[in-house]
Every structure is written in C-alpha cells, then in structure tokens.
C-alpha cells in the first residue's frame, strides 16, 4: 500500500491516467453484479424508452437495455484495442530488434516498407479487409485487421531506441564479458527500453481503439456484439441525435472519451519518464 502511494506521488499523471482508464472496467465489473447482460441483446426489453427506474439508461430502437449494453460492451471495446495493441507491439519488438540490432539489408528492406506504409491512410485498407471478411466479423478478426496496419509506429520507435542503446558502453561490456546476442537483447537492452515499450504500447492501443470504433461506427464491426462503436453505429443509423434520444448516443461517447483521456494521460506520464527534458519553459 505504502509503495503504491509513493509511486502515485512520483508519477502523478501516469497514476491518474491508469485510474481513469480502469474506471470504465470497474463500472462494468460492478455493473455485472447488478444487471443481467443478456438484456444487451436486441428484443429483450421494450424499445425506445427513456431512462427510468427499471432501465437506468433507457432502451434503443431494437429493444436493448442500454445500461446492460454499456456493462457488456466496455470490456469488448477495450479487448479489441488491447489485443490489437499487443499484436502490433509484438511485431514491432521483433522487427525493431532484428533491424536495429542486426542492421544490414534486412534493415533497409523493413525500413523501406515501414516508411512507405506509414503514409497510407489506414482506414482505407482496413475497410477493404473488413468488407472482405464474410458477413460477420468477430472481435478477434477485427483486432487482426487493425494490427495489420498499426505495427509501423512501434517498429520505428523500437528500432531507433535499439540503435542508440546498442552503442552504449554497458552493452560493449556485456558483449566482452561473453553474453550472446539473445542474452544482450533480453537482459540488457529490453529492460532499459521499458518506458519506451510502454509508451509505444499505449500509442498502439490508442490507435487501435480509434480504428475499431471508427470501423464499427461506419457499420463494419461485429453486428452482434454490443461494443461502444456498434452502439454508436445503431444510434447514428437511427438518427438518435435528432430524435432526442440522448441516452442512446451519449453514454458510448462518454465512455470512449474517458478511455481516450486515460490513455492520453498515461502517454503523457510515460513521456515524462522516458524524456525527462520535456519540462515547461524555465524563465
């Protein structure tokens, strides 16, 4: 407990960010105790009701209990983002280390491709992938589609870090003391890169949630799952805004904003750890 307090004091922004990011999950966890998430499916309650004592967030046009939708959907939205983030970071670590540490023609080729693919508007390719998958895309397929164009950022960051780290004297020392390449990578370089890895993971998760909600909001998501993006899609397609059904579109927006604010604060906090020089003006 005491240690956690110290950590919070040392890294206030990072801690607030983690708390903010976890809060929707806590809400969902507590919500599971009070509500039957089966009501998140269509046709389970009376449609088009405003919030009342029975349905705390009302119901949508299809008769979903929107409180149950929020409870069931929050973990799904985060799941897609984190899965895609993990895949991208994994690809980034493998490619970043291979190219940064070994260099040579492999480095040239991978760099050519990362630099080229960076400029592609990813949503365009994701749309082609998503419509090509038979009718109903699953959450896992979505994560794969997203990570297929999200690995370039982590690869670049990790490669650059490996390049600077491998020239440091302590790496030279461990090489002279007989460690092989794998030991150097896993015992010396990787631990020194943790803040950067965490930062690029946060970036990848942010980008992936952004992409998944975007794909879902235009109707290319998993139709059966009550994710935040799908809820928005239904709300947009039934013009819930102009029908005054704020209880339909506002909760997913608030949840997404909370998730993104949390990720933003985490990124800012990690940035302070990774680049301590980035403080404000000194005058």
């Amino acid at each position: 407990m005491k240690k956690i307090k110290e950590l919070i004091k040392k890294y206030p922004i990072l801690s607030i960010g983690i708390l903010v990011l976890i809060s929707p999950l806590v809400f969902s966890g507590v919500g599971h105790l009070f509500i039957d998430t089966g009501k998140a499916e269509a046709l389970s309650v009376v449609p088009r009701l405003g919030p009342n004592s029975e349905l705390w967030l009302g119901s949508d046009m299809h008769g979903r209990d929107l409180f149950a939708v929020a409870v069931a959907g929050i973990p799904l939205t985060l799941y897609v983002g984190f899965l895609a983030g993990i895949i991208s970071l994994g690809v980034g670590i493998v490619l970043g280390f291979l190219t940064g540490y070994l260099g040579g023609w492999l480095d040239d080729i991978v760099r050519l491709f990362t630099d080229s693919l960076m400029t592609i508007p990813s949503i365009a390719v994701m749309i082609v992938l998503a419509i090509s998958i038979e009718e109903n895309i699953t959450l896992n397929q979505m994560a794969l589609v997203i990570s297929s164009l999200a690995w370039m950022g982590p690869t670049r960051v990790i490669r650059a870090q490996v390049l600077t780290l491998k020239e440091r004297p302590f790496i030279e020392v461990s090489r002279l003391s007989g460690m092989n390449t794998f030991e150097i990578i896993f015992q010396e370089i990787l631990p020194n890169m943790l803040p950067f890895l965490a930062a690029s993971f946060t970036g990848a998760v942010t980008g992936s949630i952004l992409a998944s909600v975007g794909l879902e909001a235009i109707g290319l998501g998993p139709m059966a799952d009550p994710t935040m993006g799908m809820t928005l899609y239904w709300a947009i397609s039934f013009t819930a805004m102009l029908a005054g059904m704020w209880w339909w579109w506002l909760p997913p927006i608030i949840v997404i904003m909370i998730i993104f604010s949390g990720l933003y604060l985490i990124a800012a906090g990690l940035d302070k750890i990774a680049n301590p020089r980035l403080e404000g003006p000194q005058a």
Binding site: D115, S132, T206, S261
Partner: protein
C-alpha cells in the same frame, strides 16, 4: 538532394502504390464465394431476373468481359495496367457511371474540407503552441490551454457528434448534415458560397479542434528548443521588443519543420476526415465510401481506397521534394 535520396523516395512511392493496388486485387480473391460475377448474378436475380440456362451464358460472358477466365498472374497484370491508367471500372449500383467519374464528383468536397481544416489547425495550433513554449507569454495561458489538449485525445468523430448535438440540434445554428442546401438549383454565387461554408463549418471545426492539440504540442517543443539558440540571445541583447522576437525569430523558425510533420500526418488526417464526412453526411469521398460499403458496390470501394492512397502518396512525395527547396539547410545526405 542527392540522387540516392530521390531514387529511394520514388521507390517508396511505387511500393505504396503497388501495395494499394495489390491489396485491392488479392484480398477479395482470398475470400471464398465473393467473386463479383456471382454477386452481380445474385443481384440480377434479386431484382426479378429469372433463373434459366441463360444465366449461365450471361455469367460466362461476364467472366470473359472482366478477364476472369484468364490465369491469375495475367489478371493481376491487367489489374495493374488498369490501376496505372485510372481505369477503375464501373459502379454496380449506379451502372453505368464510372468509378472515376463518381470520385471526381465527390473529390472537390473532400479536398476543400481537408485543405481548409488542415491549414486552420496548423495556424491556430502553431501560434498557440508557440505561445505556450515562449517564456514571456501570459502565464494564464499555461493553465487554460493544456486541458484543451484532451480534445486531441478524443477521436474526430466523437467531437463531430457532440458538435452536431450542441450547435445543430440544441442551438440550431448550423445544419446537421449535407454539403449544401438541398432543393435549390446548384449555381455558383455569393449566396452559394455562404451556404457551403455554413455547411462545412461543423465538420471542419471537429477536425480543427482535434488536430489543434497535436499541432500546438509539437510547436511548443520546437520553441522550447529554439529558446537556447544564440540568435535569440543576440536579438534580446539588441533590445528588440519581445513580440518581434517571438514572431520573426521564434515562430518563423518553427514553420519549416511543420512541413515534414504535415507530410507524415496526411494519411492520418485523411482517415479521420473520412469518418467525419460520414458522420455529417458530407458529400465527399467518405460518404461515397459509406454508401458503397452499404450497397456492397465493390468497384467503387476499391476505387476510392486506391485513389485515396495514391493521392496521399503523391502529396507526401511532393512535400518531401519541396522541403529541401524551401529550407536550404536540408540536404538529405545520409
């Protein structure tokens, strides 16, 4: 600009274009049961066409017409040839409109929206960010502005939805959707201009608000690093007014690096703008893309995707080549 740099940059451009056109060719082929001819035949059947032996003949004719009876490598080469000559085929839904024609109709809207919103976010974000990094700027600014950065963490389309609710539904100041007043004859004139700006205001605003945060963070970082430079010290020692140092020694030197950032971000900005257009039913490429996704109008979808990637690639290439011309310090020597 060395020959090596130019050739590498052009190679990168061709990789992007090749990836774009190959994605369009191979991904649909990897998926079973979605060859365009059977989809078309099903559509004909849906519309009340009859099933008989004639269907088989029609299908064969279609296969021949689109070259689908050829081996795969030949089809791929044909596809690349068509992509290189912008022969993107015809729409299923709006047959016989060509995909290219539909793209040209939608393009001015997207371009206008993106261009103005990008310029606005660069100007506003640049000035605000520079002020944040400048030691003599009013202190209050440092407490007011950083919370606004949270907006940059929020996706474009969320801001769009909120803006629709607040400024179009709750306070009906702006139209909720569309690019122009429907039901009038489309002519160009002052009233039309005002109408177009009126409709573009909210979509543009949601892009500007979201982009502004990133822009100002970047400029702030640049100003901070500039402040230790000798020429700033000299300007101060000469007794120049602070505002003048800020404008002509500070901001001026942050302008050039913004170009590279712009080049790297174009793809990101375009991705966001597509979704903003969909939210606002703005008559650009994004909206066309949504409509064709819903109608499974594959040629139009692939056409837009290819065109988008190609135009971003061209823009990035041009920016990269212009950069060393406007900034003589850049030589692109490895």
């Amino acid at each position: 600009m060395t020959f090596k740099f130019v050739s590498k940059r052009i190679l990168m451009f061709f990789i992007v274009v090749l990836v774009a056109s190959s994605v369009n060719f191979f991904i649909p082929k990897l998926v079973p049961d979605t060859d365009p001819v059977s989809i078309r035949m099903m559509e004909i059947a849906d519309q009340g066409g009859v099933y008989d032996e004639g269907m088989k003949a029609v299908a064969d004719e279609y296969f021949k017409m689109f070259g689908l009876d050829q081996p795969l490598w030949k089809q791929y080469l044909f596809h690349l040839r068509d992509a290189a000559t912008f022969n993107l085929g015809v729409s299923f839904t709006y047959y016989p409109s060509t995909v290219m024609g539909m793209i040209w109709d939608a393009l001015p809207w997207t371009f206008g929206l993106l261009f103005t919103a990008t310029i606005m976010s660069f100007v506003i974000g640049g000035v605000v960010g520079a002020l944040l990094g400048w030691p003599y700027a009013p202190r209050s600014l440092r407490y007011i502005v950083p919370p606004l950065f949270l907006f940059s963490a929020i996706p474009y389309y969320m801001l769009g939805l909120l803006l629709i609710y607040v400024l179009a539904y709750w306070l009906p100041l702006f139209p909720t959707a569309g690019g122009y007043q429907i039901g009038e004859i489309f002519n160009f004139g002052w009233g039309r201009m005002v109408d177009i700006i009126h409709h573009a205001a909210l979509p543009a605003l949601s892009i500007v608000i979201a982009e502004f945060g990133i822009r100002s963070l970047v400029t702030r970082g640049m100003i901070l690093s500039l402040y230790g430079e000798d020429y700033i010290k000299l300007a101060e020692a000469k007794g120049l007014p602070n505002s003048r140092i800020f404008m002509w020694y500070g901001i001026r030197n942050t302008l050039l690096p913004q170009f590279t950032i712009l080049a790297l971000h174009l793809g990101h900005i375009a991705s966001g703008a597509i979704i903003v257009e969909i939210i606002f039913a703005y008559p650009g490429l994004g909206n066309l893309l949504r409509d064709s996704v819903q109608a499974f109008d594959f040629p139009v979808i692939y056409g837009i995707v290819y065109f988008l990637i190609l135009s971003i690639a061209v823009a990035t290439l041009l920016l990269d080549f212009i950069y060393p011309i406007i900034d003589p310090r850049i030589t692109y020597e490895d």
